[in-house]
């Protein structure tokens, strides 16, 4: 514990700005993964434990396409589309078979998939870690904003994430697909009574969720080392985020991501050896006070 350092940082403008921005950066990348997770839970009431593996797959696909085309843009695109397809296959042929059963059966299917994907990645891309490298466009000195340091690449990530959030929000609130999705989240049998194919809606949501995870993996690939099992820690953190924000609430996921980002950035100053513990403590406290999460609807 180092409360002196924490107080010092909280009273220094430059430290405050830098750590807040770093919290935001951590939070934004987390949000992309968590948004898909919470979307799938909100509609399908399924906790998708394979979400971390989707993220990993996105990063690896980006690595390969980047290597072939030398284009970061194409790499990210391939990651999003490729993972969306994998998510579709996974949902249609495996996950949809256990929608009716209890949560433990779904957990089992997901776990099997995590094991298989980790090994598949190891077989296809090899056991050693990989690094994708930064696109030339972002190899620029960082910007100084209000005394804080912001790398150009992270500024780009924040903007992209914000655009994606807005698009996601528009899809959910302004399109027919979004209306059906929202209706299906509340009452799936009503939706199917209206002649809408709920199976198709579920597949669509799962694909969208998977796409977001793949996108996050592709976007983050230049600043991550790629290894089999890399989805694991991101899975845990995005879980904390969705639980804190409220399972099923996308706005909650955004709030939760930023909170976790800030806990990380300031926690690493005040409690450098217990940052992980702090996140779980926050999760436990919020669950005790409001089990459905900050912005979740009471179940």
């Amino acid at each position: 514990m180092n409360l002196v350092a924490l107080t010092e940082c909280l009273t220094s403008a430059s430290c405050l700005v830098t750590q807040t921005t770093s919290g935001l950066i951590i939070g934004m990348l987390l949000f992309l993964v968590a948004a898909g997770l919470t979307l799938i839970f909100g509609v399908l009431k399924v906790v998708n434990f394979t979400h971390g593996s989707f993220y990993m797959l996105g990063a690896y696909l980006a690595l390969t396409v980047n290597g072939l085309t030398n284009s970061y843009f194409l790499a990210v695109l391939a990651a999003a589309i490729g993972v969306a397809l994998v998510a579709l296959v996974f949902e249609r042929f495996f996950m949809s078979k256990v929608y009716g059963s209890n949560v433990l059966m779904q957990l089992l299917v997901c776990y099997a998939f995590i094991l298989i994907m980790d090994d598949a990645v190891k077989i296809i891309w090899g056991p050693e870690f990989k690094s994708m490298g930064m696109a030339a466009a972002f190899q620029k000195p960082p910007l100084f904003i209000a005394g804080g340091i912001v790398p150009v690449f992270y500024l780009f990530l924040i903007i992209v994430t914000l655009i994606i959030s807005v698009v996601l929000w528009l899809i959910i609130t302004r399109t027919r697909f979004g209306t059906v999705v929202r209706a299906a989240a509340v009452n799936p049998s009503m939706v199917s009574a209206l002649g809408i194919n709920t199976g198709l809606v579920f597949s669509g949501v799962f694909m969208l969720g998977g796409m977001l995870a793949g996108l996050a993996g592709g976007l983050a690939a230049p600043v991550r080392s790629l290894t089999a099992g890399m989805g694991f820690s991101i899975l845990i953190e995005s879980f904390i985020v969705t639980v804190i924000g409220g399972m099923g609430s996308i706005a909650g996921a955004l709030l939760g991501s930023i909170m976790i980002g800030l806990v990380r950035s300031f926690g690493s100053i005040g409690f450098p050896l217990f940052v992980e513990g702090l996140m779980f403590l926050l999760m436990a406290i919020i669950l005790i006070l409001k089990p459905s999460g900050l912005l979740g609807k009471e179940g």
């Binding site: 940082c9 430059s14 430290c15 830098t18 750590q19 921005t21 770093s22 919290g23 950066i25 951590i26 990348l29 980790d118 090994d119 190891k122 056991p127 050693e128 870690f129 990989k130 690094s131 994708m132 490298g133 930064m134 972002f138 190899q139 000195p141 960082p142 340091i149 790398p151 150009v152 690449f153 992270y154 983050a220 230049p222 600043v223 991550r224 080392s225 790629l226 290894t227 089999a228 099992g229 890399m230 820690s233 991101i234 990380r264 950035s265 690493s268 100053i269 450098p272 050896l273 940052v275 992980e276």
Partner: protein
């Protein structure tokens, strides 16, 4: 033909040419014990994030066992390796090791586990009374602490305390020349990272008392995002930063620190940087990072070392790692001691190994010695240099002085009541 079987069965079993091919795969232990084959069990990590530790250890062992077998094996008995994955979990390492001895008939253990697994294997070896060679665990206490040390356990790899003395001495030289007094550290928060960093600071101050540590950051092992750690370093503006991050964590950290232009703002000492896996993985490798040698073809700058590195690379289509040479040392010590004792018996090999000196491409003077009193290897090549972004990656290496290392190690042992 023997190699083909290995691949077909997807079993990590290596065979000597003279071994009865069909019999040994399914053989109960009795057959193995009576035949001319001697089995050596090798628990290691072949899956998960540090699978490379296992695969690169296995590669080196595969190469060397073939040579040793061609030269007659252990006292006339051909070596057969039985290699198993512990998934990096200590309790699995314990289980696998017990199984290797108890039901696979292994008479010697070559422990290629990371440090936490090595302590579990040590417990098993103590329990079952078999010879064990730790090839990858650098934690000093494993052999230095008399409470943990056992007579049948040896270590064939670098040791934390040696590494720290060398690093402290090198960093102090630079600090003296450039008047670097304010230091920061950024190391993974687990036993290796903590011990390594604490000892480094101790010896940095020993050689350069003006140095003081003004900030410490402790990211978690396998943390994906180092943003908060990097901004903290930049905030407190140390003149130099020391890091014990390694492998994939180090690559992520370098990639992320790069976009903050961290490397242009301070001297960076990353002890595990000069390993080919990291050097080749990082796409935009910054120039001038100080690093200790892990495995590098150019140091020691001898024909034997370069040839071995090339042979490894030609065969496995990848560079050897730090772990590869450490396993080389382990298996050759067993072979040489067996030759000296003219026996394949674990206790006799152990007896012959204490104080044994062997020729070695990775020795500082072409040899390494298994020190008798704590059964750990000394005299291996170690030094520091700075990186460039392509081959040979670390062009100039300042080699360490072993007499300094040994003298300071002795004092360290006394302070810790290890004598």
């Amino acid at each position: 033909m023997a190699r083909k079987r290995v691949d077909l069965d997807r079993r990590t079993v290596l065979k000597g040419a003279a071994a009865g091919a069909a019999a040994t795969i399914f053989a109960p232990n009795i057959v193995a014990a009576q035949s001319k084959v001697i089995r050596i069990g090798m628990p290691t990590i072949l899956s998960g994030r540090v699978a490379q530790l296992g695969t690169s250890s296995r590669n080196a062992i595969q190469m060397e066992v073939e040579k040793i077998n061609a030269a007659g094996g252990l006292a006339g008995r051909q070596i057969e390796m039985v290699i198993r994955d512990s998934k990096g979990q200590p309790q699995e390492a314990a289980r696998v090791s017990r199984e290797l001895v108890n039901s696979d008939g292994c008479e010697i253990l070559l422990d290629a586990e990371a440090s936490s697994g090595s302590f579990a294997v040590q417990e098993v070896a103590k329990d079952l009374g078999v010879l064990v060679m730790h090839t990858n665990s650098e934690t000093s206490s494993l052999t230095a602490d008399p409470k943990i040390r056992i007579p049948l356990a040896f270590r064939s790899c670098r040791q934390g305390i040696h590494d720290a003395v060398v690093s402290g001495a090198y960093a102090a030289e630079i600090a003296k020349a450039k008047k670097i007094n304010r230091w920061g550290t950024c190391s993974p928060d687990y036993a290796y990272g903590r011990d390594n960093t604490q000892l480094f600071v101790e010896y940095l101050k020993h050689f350069y008392p003006q140095a003081e540590v003004t900030m410490e950051a402790w990211p978690k092992l396998f943390q994906p995002d180092y943003t908060e750690v990097i901004t903290r370093v930049l905030q407190s503006k140390p003149q130099a930063l020391y890091s014990a991050l390694w492998g994939g964590d180090l690559t992520s950290w370098v990639d992320q620190a790069n976009i903050y232009a961290l490397f242009s703002q301070m001297e960076v000492f990353a002890i595990n940087m000069a390993d080919y896996t990291v050097l080749t993985a990082v796409k935009n490798l910054p120039k001038g990072i100080h690093s200790a040698t892990r495995y590098i073809k150019t140091y020691p700058n001898t024909k034997a070392n370069a040839e071995w590195g090339d042979a490894y690379r030609a065969r496995f289509k990848e560079y050897p790692t730090n772990w590869s040479w450490e396993n080389w040392v382990g298996i050759h010590f067993i072979a040489e001691a067996s030759k000296k004792a003219n026996s394949a018996d674990g206790k006799k090999i152990a007896e012959a190994m204490r104080g044994l000196k062997i020729d070695c491409p990775f020795g500082a003077d072409g040899t390494v010695t298994m020190r008798a009193d704590d059964q750990t290897v000394i005299g291996y090549a170690i030094g520091w240099g700075t990186t460039i972004s392509g081959e040979p990656y670390v062009p100039e290496v300042t080699g360490a002085k072993w007499d300094t290392i040994l003298q300071l190690e002795a004092e360290w042992k006394k302070r810790n009541n290890y004598t």
